[in-house]
Symmetry: C2
Subunit: 110 residues, 2 copies
């Protein structure tokens, strides 16, 4: 498996694909966890983000989020760290992510 992922440039993001990426309860929970992450905390890694689920299911959800430009995956040693592309999304659709996040209930596990 390649150690780097490709991510769409901010100009390539499309509203339908971002909305589709956000249109799933598991992906919304992942995005909520990423949004709640604070600088200084242990980074969120791909292998453990979101609720309990099979590895292949998690990989699928992370792929949908990454390909839509909602999240970024970065290799750090043996782990893939995950972050929210908040600035990019806010630049393209001001207020969208904030409105969605305020509608996301608390994550089951942080």
């Amino acid at each position: 498996m390649s150690s780097t992922y490709t991510h769409p440039d901010v100009a390539e993001l499309t509203l339908p694909s971002v909305l589709f990426a956000l249109s799933d309860p598991v992906r919304l929970e992942i995005v909520g966890q990423l949004a709640a992450w604070q600088a200084g905390e242990v980074p969120l890694v791909c292998a453990s983000v979101g609720p309990e689920m099979p590895k292949s299911t998690r990989s699928h959800h992370l792929k949908v989020l990454r390909e839509a430009g909602v999240t970024r995956s970065v290799q750090s040693g043996r782990e893939r760290q995950l972050s929210l592309r908040r600035e990019d999304l806010d630049a393209r659709w001001p207020g969208l992510l904030t409105a969605v996040l305020s509608g996301v209930s608390e994550p089951i596990e942080a």
Copy 2:
């Protein structure tokens, strides 16, 4: 075909289903047209809203929007008039529809 449609109550709306309903270019165009409708103008009817497409395709898109609670269809004489459930959506997810609409490009036909 029944002359009345069922619509989910505002409390039944869910964020994933609303985001899914909005995650399609044709449905976004329909929502943009509905949002641009002004009081006093000829009401938008189901049969002609959105871009050119087969009747069955339009019906499918309108069903997704209606069942998610994004739009309301009301029988008026021989036509079904379509409206955006803006107040309901704003009440549940303040700012969401506004952010989405600002990302929707101009409708092809008004």
